[in-house]
Each structure stands twice: as C-alpha cells, then as structure tokens.
C-alpha cells in the first residue's frame, strides 16, 4: 500500500474511534415520543382585573419553572413563544398526566368571608405541606407570612362563629366555621385524596399563576409507550439494515461489500453527531435515520455505476475509480443539496417530532456524503491497489 493511503486509513479509523467514544460517552437524547412525558402549549388569558402583558407572561413562566422544579424533571424545556404563549416540554417525567395537571392550573387560592370578601390569597402563604386532618382526611397544612398572619388574625377575630370559605380557582374546597382566632397556621381540607393534597401543596409552594393559562395543546405520553416504540424501532432498524446489506452484496458483490462497510461507518458517524450535538431523537427521527441509510447507499450506487461506465469506455481500473468519483461528485452534491433544502424547510416549520426528523435527515445527508466520497473511495483504492486487473472484473466491466 502506498503511504498516502495508509495515512488516510489512519485518519478514518481515528474518526470512527472518536465517534464510537462519543456514542459510548454521551447519552442519547430521546424525544418525548420515545421516553414519555408531556408537551404543552399554554396561552395567557386576560382577566377582568389583570391584562396578560409581557410582565405577566414572564412571571407565569417563572411560576411554571418553580412547579416543574418541584416535580423533579431532569431537563425541562420551558420557553416563550410569541407574546402570550409558553411552551413546556418535560421528557422523561414519571407521571406525565399529573405533571400536566400541576402545570396548567392557575392555583389561585382564596379565603373569603360570608359576604364574599377576599380575606387573603395563596400569596400570603409561607409554606404548604400535605398531611392529614384530625379525622385523618387528606389536608394541606400551611403557615402564613407575617402580613398574611395579620390579615388572618383580624378576619378570624371578626368572623368567630361564622364560616370562612376556601376557594381554589373559584371551586369551593371547604367552608369551616371559625372557632377561635387563628394567627399564622391553618389547614385546608375537602381535597379528596392524598395525591390531590400533595399536588395542591406543591402548587401553593410554587405560587399561583398571575394570569390563567389556556391549554392550547397538550400531549401526554406514558413512558411505557415510548419504550415499546424504541423496541419496535430497534427491530425494524436491524431488519432494514440487514436487508440493505444483503441487497448490496447480491447486486454489487465486492463493491457492495465496500458500500456495506461504508454504511456501518456512516451509521456510527450519524449516531455520534446526534449525541454530541445533543439532538433529540424522535420516532420520525428514527425513521429518518433508517431512510437515510437508503440515501447513503444511493451515493455509493451512483459512484459504482459511474466507475462501471468509465471502465466500459476503456479506462483502466485506477483511472476509472478516480474519474468515477470525480464525476459522480457533482451529481451526489446536487441531489443532496435538494434534499437538504426540504430538511431545512421541515426544520424551520416543523415542531417537536418533525424537527427531530429534519435534524436526523440533515445529519444523515452530510455523513453519507462523507462516507461515500471519502471512505468508500479509500477502501476501493486500497483493495484495487493489490491486484488492479483482477478487481476490474468485479465491477462487471
């Protein structure tokens, strides 16, 4: 082998090793549809008293961030979209349905007297903890801030023997009769079950939303479903890859084998690019990967057909390989750029899973061009170098 080829080989092997390390080292960032979780698009609504302006939406986002923190999600994605929308993506949350409940609720807690005057609100609470009342019913025990304590003390003093009603988002929870003056501690009952008490305490700790949020879009997926999708995709990917590999071997023989090796390297590079860019892998994304295997093969097929033509026109094998690659490159470039245009359009306009598809498709295009033009050529040249005339026949010329 010529020294130039050896060095190129070393380069390719180094790239493959680095990529393999990256795959081994970085976790794959699975999307909502593969890991389970929830994605919500919320829109702030005006109320009679408060306008959903920029400030209100910003504060609402902060409240949501606090609530999500309470849920303990590893990598929540929360961002604003346009002037009034907030997008929340929680991949991998254990109980996505509950997460949806907790995030979307306004959680406006109000204490009112019998004439319906608001005594104090959830903002006056210092802490809130789920527990049980004296009849061991689920309850939320709260402590008040100093200002809240002042309000409550006065209200309980004024209302002894009368009822104070506790409303959550205009829904009556309970209306206990005031027995004595209460200063800084209290209890909310009428919550149903313990989960509800826990959720309420969590929402109270994180604070109420300054304006109510409309849920425009909510997707919730249990993790089990995501796992099923992964398992099925793995099977599909393996079978698909095996079929492609066999097909190439049968149709193109030795060059087919070379293409298969290139394909394997291609897969490693794409996966490495995916994990190191922290791109999100979604179900359509996996489909995009499987599909791009077909496209990666395409570049090889174009090159082989070219070499075959060059051989047919009387060139010797080395010259034919050289010319084949040079002349195939324009064609491969043009066809890939156009695919890249559609991937770009998808990336700009797609959301969630579709964006993931665009990313894998785009990465696939770059990786397939690299493997076809660099790796395939290198291997072919190396093989042919050993015995040029013998291998010329293998191209079917």
């Amino acid at each position: 082998m010529r020294p130039g080829i050896i060095w190129k080989f070393v380069g390719v092997v180094a790239i493959v090793i680095i990529c393999a390390l990256a795959i081994w080292k970085f976790p794959i960032n699975l999307g909502l549809d593969l890991r389970g979780g929830t994605r919500m698009v919320l829109e702030a609504k005006d109320t009679e008293t408060i306008k959903a302006d920029d400030d209100a939406v910003t504060r609402a986002k902060e409240v949501i961030e606090r609530r999500v923190n309470q849920l303990g999600v590893a990598e929540p994605v929360i961002y604003r979209q346009g002037s009034r929308r907030i997008v929340v993506e929680l991949a991998g949350v254990k109980d996505p349905h509950r997460a949806r409940e907790i995030i979307g609720r306004t959680a406006q807690l109000e204490f009112r007297d019998e004439r319906n005057n608001v005594i104090m609100s959830g903002n006056d609470l210092k802490t809130a903890v789920a527990g049980y009342d004296q009849y061991s019913r689920p309850a939320v025990n709260f402590e008040l801030t100093s200002e809240g304590a002042r309000k409550f003390e006065k209200a309980t003093l004024d209302n002894i023997g009368r009822r104070i009603a506790i409303y959550l988002d205009e829904e009556l929870l309970s209306a206990p009769v005031v027995q004595t003056v209460i200063k800084d501690k209290g209890q909310i009952t009428g919550l149903g079950d313990m989960d509800k008490a826990k959720d309420l305490s969590m929402m109270l700790r994180a604070g109420a939303l300054p304006v109510p949020l409309d849920v425009l879009h909510a997707e919730v997926l249990e993790p089990t479903l995501g796992q099923e999708a992964i398992d099925q995709s793995k099977v599909a990917a393996l079978i698909g890859a095996a079929l492609v590999i066999i097909f190439m071997l049968v149709i193109y023989k030795l060059p087919g084998l070379v293409a298969d090796v290139a394909l394997l390297i291609y897969a490693i590079i794409v996966m490495a690019a995916l994990v190191s860019l922290k791109a999100v892998l979604t179900l359509p994304g996996i489909a995009g990967l499987i599909l791009s295997v077909g496209m990666a093969v395409d570049a090889n097929v174009i090159i082989f057909e070219r070499i075959r033509e060059e051989l047919g026109s009387g060139k010797r094998i080395r010259a034919a390989i050289e010319a084949g690659f040079t002349r195939a490159f324009g064609c491969i470039l043009d066809s890939n750029v156009t695919t890249l245009i559609t991937a770009g359009a998808l990336y700009i306009f797609g959301s969630g899973a579709v964006k993931g598809f665009a990313v894998t498709l785009g990465l696939g295009i770059f990786a397939s061009m690299f493997t076809a033009v660099v790796v395939t050529k290198l291997i072919l040249v190396a093989i042919v170098d050993r015995n040029p005339e013998k291998y010329a026949k293998r191209f079917g010329a």
Partner: protein, 308 residues
C-alpha cells in the same frame, strides 16, 4: 426501452392519476388527525380485551350523556390491548376533568384501564400547524426550483417541481381514498418523498446535461431517453434499497409509524416513476415546444432580436 418516445402515454397516465387524486381529495377529503383538526385523542390500555362496541355503549350511557360523545371515534390499535378514542365536546377538546370522568366510567364498567397517551389540541393550533405544513412544502419547492435553475436551467427546475407536485397529489389522493390518517409526521413523510424524488430526477438531469455536452447528432428525445437508460439501473437499485429499509419500518416499526411508512412507500414508488417517466418528459416537451416557437418566430420574421 423507449420512455421518451411514449412520453405522451406516461403524461396521460399521470394526468389521469392526478385528476383522480384531486377528485379524491375534493370528494372524500383527508382524514386529518387531531393535531390538524383540534380535538382530543386518548389512548387507553385495558386490562382485558375490550370491543369498540362496549366502549361506545359506555360513552353514550346516561352517566356521560351530558358530554354528547355519540360522535366519538373508537379505534382499537392492532396487536395491542389499546384503544384510541377521538372526541370533542361542543367543538372543543376534552378538559382533564372530562377525561377523568370518562376513564372512571370506563373502568367502572369494563375493568381496569389506564391512559397511556393523550393529546388535546385547540383548533387554533391545528390551523397553525396546517399553515406551517403548507408553507414548508411551498418553501422547499421554491428552494428546489431556484437551486435546480442555478445548477441546470429553469426548465429543468420547473419540470422537476411539476413532478414533485404530481407525487404529492397522488400520495395525498391515495391517503384520501384509503382513509388513512394524516398527522404531522405525515408532513415529514411528504417532504421526504419530495426530497427523495428530486434526488432521482437530478441524477437523470445530471446525465442529460452531460450527454448534451458531448452531443453529436442525437435529437433531444434521444438524449433524454439515453440518459434515462443509462441511469435506470441506479434509479431502480436505489429505490429498492430504500424500499427495503422502509418496508422493514412498515412491518416491524409498530403502529404509530405505520401510516408514516406507508406514505413513504407510496411516495417512493410514485416518485421513482415520475423521476423516470414524467420529469424528463415534461422537459422534452417544453424544450421542443420552445424551439418550435422560436423557429416560427424566425420564419414569420417577427423574431425578437434580443430574445434569441
């Protein structure tokens, strides 16, 4: 093999297919998913196998009568104990308390059940998504015309995009006829088809361009036809490899990816056909027509001196 010689036949076949597609779209319409129409979709997992009829009975029972769920679509998911319910209440997606009521009632009547997936979409969002999807398609078509016009010529670009529109209409029409669901991954599938079909078209164009360069006495038709012949092996082999990969996806990839794979399978077949038979034919027709027009202008003496 003489594809260009029979180009009128292929163009006629395609015209018929496109017309059928348009009629199917107009008459039957697409079965749009909740992400486009708005509404809610709940996927439930039952402990024991449950028939759609049993669920329908519960949904329309007196306990849930106030929600008017008579129009809810109940669909068992093949190969799983899961059932999908698609419903709206007064044109709005179900709220979470309404979903809870439905699940409580179902589990009371039919045994343990859990929600494994739910989606609720306000109609506004669906409309936005649809607009974005259309925009994405238009944008990629425009991008392709520009790129192909720069690298080849304008006629190639327009002929290529005509073929793409042809592919898209036929696949959409097929989905309308089959009543398969169209959701946002479907848009990804359509755009993939566009990307793939243009791939094939360009490989053939590349050959035509090359053959034009070394042209001796061949006519435009002969050049186009030879180019198709010379790239045919590649076109077929490539589509077969990709088809193998997507077929694996269709049969083993699970229910949620089935419609997506079907769209791509259809698109691959139609796209390859249009790349081989339609895009070059349109280009040939146009080039010949253009030449004829110019010749007539010269012979009648009305030639525009700047136009030649």
């Amino acid at each position: 093999m003489d594809i260009i010689g029979k180009r009128r036949n292929y163009l006629a076949i395609s015209a018929v297919l496109v017309v059928i597609g348009i009629i199917a779209l107009a008459a039957k319409g697409l079965n749009l998913g909740v992400d486009f129409t708005g509404g809610s979709l709940i996927r439930l997992r039952f402990e024991r196998p449950v028939a759609a009829g049993e669920i329908s009975n519960v949904l329309t029972s007196s306990a849930l009568a106030d929600m008017n769920l008579g129009k809810a679509v109940i669909q068992p998911i093949r190969g799983t104990p899961d059932v999908q319910i698609r419903a709206q209440v007064e044109g709005k997606p179900l709220g979470s308390t309404q979903v809870d009521r439905i699940v409580d009632e179902l589990s009371y009547e039919l045994g343990a059940v859990s929600i494994v997936e739910s989606q609720m979409v306000e109609a506004v969002i669906g409309k936005e998504l649809l607009n974005k999807a259309i925009l994405a398609m238009v944008l990629s078509c425009v991008g392709i015309v520009i790129y192909v016009s720069l690298r080849f010529e304008f006629k190639f670009g327009v002929a290529a995009v005509s073929a793409l529109v042809h592919d898209t209409i036929i696949v959409l029409g097929a989905f309308a006829l089959l009543g398969r669901q169209v959701n946002s991954p479907f848009i990804a599938a359509i755009l993939t088809i566009i990307g793939y079909s243009i791939n094939d078209t360009i490989v053939i164009y590349d050959k035509i361009r090359e053959n034009l360069k070394f042209r001796k006495k061949e006519t435009i038709e002969e050049i186009a036809n030879n180019s198709i012949r010379q790239t045919l092996r590649r076109s077929i082999n490539t589509v077969l490899t990709t088809l193998l990969a997507v077929l694996a996806l269709y049969f083993f990839g699970g229910a949620s990816i089935k419609d997506f794979s079907l769209a791509i399978i259809l698109g691959l077949v139609v796209g390859t056909y249009s790349s081989i038979c339609i895009a070059p034919s349109i280009w040939v027709e146009w080039t010949l027509w253009d030449r004829e027009r110019k010749r007539r202008q010269i012979t009648t003496g009305r030639a525009n001196p700047k136009g030649a």
